[in-house]
Amino acid sequence: MSGIRVRRFLAAVRAALVVIAIFVMLIPIIWIFLAAFKNHVDVYQLKLFFTPTLDNFATVFEPPYLLGPKLLNSTLVALATVAVAIPVATMAAYGFSRFRLIGETAMLVVILATQFVPAVVIILPFFVMFRDIGLLDTRIGLILVNLAIVMPFAIWMIKGFIDGIPLDTEEAAMVDGSSRLGVIRDIVLPMAAPGLLTAGIFCFIIAWNEFLFALILTNKHSVTLPIGLALFKGEEGDLWNLLSAAGIIIMAPMFVLALIIREYFVRGMTMGAVR
């Protein structure tokens, strides 16, 4: 074979490998996706070809499963977590980015380190405290502990964005007589807006997918979607078609959000250790 042919052949092999690898990576998602549209009988027969049905998506919202309130809880908890985290993190990010503070490195390291504290360590004292003050099984309680996991990401991510905004515009405005708060409001916030949105979406995904806190703190009124998955156990074991439909409801919105911010996913997760 000539050199060109060998190269073409290798390129085709590589392209095939790419397709196979991605297919393998998507199998569990495809599998859930298929099962969500199967009826009860088809799930248990492993069919690849079947008449799709939307019944499962209706059933999960009916008694005894009632996914509706859980969907509401998940949405409210994640939204409120983001609504508190982003403004607080933005202020701090600006402070850390633009000024030298006493103990700055220490504070940043502690904030970084909190991301690595096992969730199970955080939840033990909160469980005791919430039991004593009546915050168990409330959305407020869940929002409070969720802040523990999103704050470090939010601060570090937004700080990265603000670090990238050139100082000149700010300084020019200050020379023209703007106050510091005016500069933050009129220059920094508009320029950092895409970054704030990205950080907000990132934190929303984390709060939405959070499992351990909700498992321990909720049992009836404030149960979130991931915990709701445990409901789909019947007398005869797991109800896979319903589990899959609930799974789609949990993951589909996150897929959309993840695709929107995919450029920043890596930077967000590594907190700037990889640029």
């Binding site: 590589r14 490998l17 790419v18 397709v19 690898a21 991605i22 990576m25 199998i27 998602i29 599998w31 859930i32 099962a35 248990y44 985290a85 607080v88 993190a89 202020m91 402070g95 000024f99 503070l101 504070m107 970084l112 380190a113 909190t114 690595f116 096992p118 969730a119 199970v120 360590v121 939840i123 033990l124 004292p125 469980f127 005791v128 802040l147 704050m151 106050s179 510091r180 995904i205 997918n209 499992f211 351990l212 498992l215 321990i216 998955l229 797991d238 589990l243 899959s244 799974g247 949990i250 993951m251 996150m254 996913f265 890596v266 997760m269 590594t270 907190m271 250790a273 990889v274 640029r275």
Partner: protein, 290 residues
Amino acid sequence: MRDDTLKYLLVLPAVLVVSATAVWPLAESLRLSFTVGRLNRPGSLDQYLGFENFSWAFMEDPAFWNSVWVTAVYTVATVGLTTVLALGLALLLAPEGRLRSTARTLLILPFAMSPALIGVSFRFMFNPEFGLFDAFFGLMLPPLAEISWLANPTLAFAVCVMADVWGWIPFLTLVLIGGLAAVPRETIEAARIDGANAWRVFRDVTLPQMGPVLAVVVILKTIFSLKTFDQIFMLTNGGPGTATQTLSHYIYFNGMKYGQIGYAASVAWLMVIPMIILTYFYAKFVFRKE
């Protein structure tokens, strides 16, 4: 307002939130770890017994050592497999082109999936009666079809590792693609001209250049592997027996199911120590360029 005051007011709310939601529970857990700490016994949360919880864990509790062992093997297996597979996938997907760019986009999907849901989907796929894997093995290797994966301690552990690796490959791959892009083209070209084959170029040029990125990825993945809870809980719930009981799961069981919150807190703190060491190394990379 003067900047000198303002700058501290700006960071104050964040410092308060982080202190209340992360630093306080860490300190309070440490305090609880020295107490009798029974959830159902009022007053026992302030009843101190020194290092007794810790010595109990070390000396008298085989279940603790079991979870340490499970976590250690789990961490080594998941970190190793994820890193190697992600590096392979990164090399495959790094070149530009429409197919690869689509592939990179699709890769974000598994990572947006909640770990609990990953656990559920793997339990589904390894179901002995109608799971996908079972059907696959029934077709390819009929003797394997009769195995009920999650009932066998070793296989259940392997499935947990598989689910974890599957969930983390996308993220590590995307990080490593970024790392590959940063390797200077000229160095690779120069090595090629000097007659190095693809493998030599990879081993002697690409890999050393990737060092820092690989280090970050390995530290980060190690931290997340050590903490693993969600998938395990949904996939095997620590079973069969305690074959897949990680430290996080053991802490959860002691604290929440048996109400031994003092003991759970002491085991939890034993887990925090390696985290602090790993975080120290991780912080070095974060602050390196500043």
